[in-house]
Amino acid sequence: MIKLTEVQKQYTEKVKIGPLNIEIPKAGFTSLIGPNGAGKSTTLMMIGRLLSIDEGQIAVAHMDIGSSKSKDLAKIITILRQENHFVTRLSVRQLVGFGRFPYSDGRLTLEDEAIISKYIDFLDLTELENRYLDELSGGQRQRAYVAMVLCQETEYVLLDEPLNNLDIARSVQMMEHLRAAAKEFGRTIVTVMHDINFAAKYSDRICAMKDGQIAAYGTVEEIMDPEILTSIFETKIEVIEGPYGPIAIY
C-alpha cells in the first residue's frame, strides 16, 4: 500500500502541490491522469523519492519514504522517469543488469543472470540484448528501461508516461506487458498516463489530478464519468460504452 498523508510541495508562491491524501492499495494497476501541469509527474517523483516533500508523509508498504534507508527502499519501490539519458554506452543486457544492483551491489550471481534473462525475455528483448541502447529505436529502448525497473523486482513500480514515443501498436504491447507484470508477478504498478482511454482500458483504478490536487480517485467506472472528466480537463467530454469498456469522446 502506498499512503500519502497531507503531502505538500511548494515550488513558488503560485505553484503548489497538495495537500495530497491518498491510499493506493497493494497489487493492481493505478493510473494518474490530468491536464498538463496538474502535478502528476511531481507526485509520482515524490513517491519515488526523487523529489523531496515539504510537508506530510509518504509511506510505501508501511515504510516512511523520508526516513527509511535508501537501500531498503530500493527493494520495495522503483521509478522510471520519462526521459532517461546515460553518458555511458550500455548494452540492453547490461542496463537491465543494473536493476539487480540493490541485491548484488554490482556483483552479479548466476541467479541474478537468470532473473535478468527472465525480464529480457518477458519484454521481447532477447534478440536485442547485446545491442547498445543507442542502436535501438525509441520503442525498443523504452522496453529496455521497463525491463530494467521490473528486474529490480520491487513490489511497487512507478512509471512516468511509459507510452511516450510509442506508436499505437507498441503502446498496446507495452500496456499488455505491464498488465501482465501486475497479474503474473503481483506487482503494484502506478503510471502517469496521457491517454484517458488507455488508462481506462488497462487500469484497475484511476486517480485524476488537477491544479496540484487530487480531483477524483476511484475505479475506472467511477472516474470515467462525463461530468468528472469534463470538469478535470475543462473540455466537453462524453463517455460511451465501447467493446472493451468505457471510452471517452472529446
Binding site: S91, F98, G106, S117, T126, N130, Q152
Partner: protein, 355 residues
C-alpha cells in the same frame, strides 16, 4: 532493426534463449572480442609506459654504467619518473571519477579553480612576503598547508552548492569555474606588481613540469594517493551506478548526495596534490579520460580505471622521452599535451548531439 509483430515473435524466442543460456551474461564487456581487445590495448599501453620509463632512466646517460655517479644520475631521473606516475594517477582517476559523478564527459576537474587557487597562493606568498618567503615556502609543512587549503575550498564549494534544497551539480560546476577565473584575475593582478626577478622565480613555479616536483614530498604524497586510489577502486561498482545519473542511482538505493560529495572530495585531494606538486595541467586528464572510454568499451569502472591509468602513464612518459631524446626540447612537453587534449576536446564537443 525491424521489429516483428508481438505474437509471431513469442514462439521463436524460447528456443534460442535456451540454447544461449550459458552464454548470456551482463558482464562488463558485451562480447569476448571486446574483452580481448581491452586486454591487448591495456597490455600494450603498460608495455609502452614501461619501455618509455626505462628509456627515460638509462637512455643517453652521460656517465657510463661503471662510473660511481651512474646511480645518482638515475636516482634523479627516478624522481622525475615518480612525479610522472603521480601526475598520471591523479589526473586519470580524478577525471574519470569526476566525469562519472557529474554525468558529463566533456568537463574536467581542473577547471574547478584548483590551478587558480594554487597560483594565488604562490603569487600571494611572493607578493605579501617577498621572494625570500617563496624560496622558503617549501617543505612538507607548507606543502600540506597548500593541499589542505585547496581541499577546504572545494569542500566549502560542494557543501554550499550541492547540498540542501537547491543542490545543483551544473550550478556548482559553473560557480567553480567562475571562481577559478576570478582567482586567476587576482593572481595576475598581483603578478603585475612584482619585480622582474620575482616574476621569473614565480613563473618557474607556475609552469607545470615534472622537474619542479620536490622529491622530499614523496613520502607523504605517495601513501595518500595510494589510499585514495584504493578507495576509488573499491567504490568502482557504485560509480557504475552513479554514472547513470541522480534519478536512476537513487532508485537503485544509492545515497546519491553523500556518494557524490565523497567522490568529489577524493577528486579534490587528488587534484590539489597533483597541482601543488607539478603545477597545473588543464586538459591532460580530459585527454586521458576521453581516450580511455574509447579503449575500454565498457561501463565498468573496474576496467576503465586501469585503462585510464595505463594511458595516462604511457602518454606522459613517452611524450617526455620523445621530447628529451628525439626532439631534444624539454620545456614544452606539458604544453604539447595540453594542446593535444584541447584539440581532442574540440572534436568531442563538436560531435556531441546532446548534453
Amino acid at each position: 532493426m525491424s521489429t516483428m509483430p508481438y505474437s509471431t515473435k513469442q514462439e521463436h524466442i524460447a528456443m534460442p534463449s535456451e540454447k544461449h543460456e550459458s552464454n548470456r551474461s551482463a558482464k562488463a564487456f558485451r562480447t569476448k572480442k571486446d574483452a580481448r581487445r581491452y586486454w591487448i590495448i591495456l597490455i600494450s599501453l603498460i608495455a609502452l609506459g614501461l619501455t618509455a620509463s626505462y628509456g627515460l632512466l638509462v637512455y643517453n646517460n652521460p656517465v657510463p654504467v661503471s662510473s660511481p655517479s651512474f646511480i645518482p644520475v638515475v636516482m634523479r631521473r627516478v624522481d622525475a619518473l615518480i612525479a610522472m606516475l603521480i601526475a598520471a594517477v591523479c589526473h586519470s582517476l580524478a577525471t574519470v571519477s569526476f566525469q562519472s559523478v557529474t554525468n558529463n564527459r566533456i568537463i574536467t576537474p581542473s577547471l574547478l579553480g584548483f590551478e587558480a587557487l594554487y597560483s594565488v597562493i604562490q603569487t600571494g606568498t611572493i607578493f605579501f612576503f617577498g621572494a625570500g618567503a617563496l624560496i622558503n615556502f617549501v617543505g612538507i609543512g607548507s606543502y600540506l598547508f597548500q593541499v589542505v587549503l585547496m581541499v577546504c575550498m572545494s569542500l566549502i564549494l560542494y557543501g554550499w552548492l550541492l547540498s540542501g534544497k537547491y543542490g545543483d551539480l551544473q550550478l556548482m560546476l559553473l560557480v567553480g569555474i567562475i571562481i577559478g577565473t576570478g582567482l586567476s584575475s587576482v593572481s595576475t593582478f598581483m603578478r603585475k606588481l612584482l619585480a622582474p626577478s620575482e616574476f621569473d622565480l614565480l613563473q618557474a613555479r607556475l609552469l607545470g613540469s615534472v622537474n619542479n616536483a620536490d622529491s622530499s614530498y614523496f613520502p607523504i604524497v605517495i601513501p595518500i594517493i595510494l589510499v585514495i586510489a584504493i578507495l576509488l577502486f573499491f567504490f568502482a561498482r557504485k560509480l557504475n551506478v552513479l554514472s547513470l545519473g541522480r534519478d536512476v542511482a537513487t532508485t537503485f538505493g544509492m545515497n546519491y548526495q553523500a556518494s557524490i560529495i565523497y567522490i568529489l572530495v577524493l577528486v579534490a585531494v587528488l587534484m590539489s596534490i597533483s597541482t601543488s606538486l607539478i603545477g597545473p595541467l588543464t586538459f591532460y586528464g580530459f585527454l586521458v579520460a576521453t581516450l580511455s572510454y574509447q579503449a575500454a568499451p565498457t561501463y565498468d569502472h573496474r576496467y576503465i580505471f586501469p585503462m585510464a591509468l595505463a594511458l595516462a602513464f604511457g602518454i606522459l612518459t613517452s611524450a617526455y622521452f620523445l621530447m628529451y631524446h628525439v626532439f631534444d626540447s624539454q620545456a614544452v612537453v606539458s604544453v604539447i599535451i595540453e594542446l593535444f587534449g584541447g584539440i581532442i576536446f574540440l572534436i568531442v564537443v563538436l560531435r556531441k548531439r546532446s548534453l
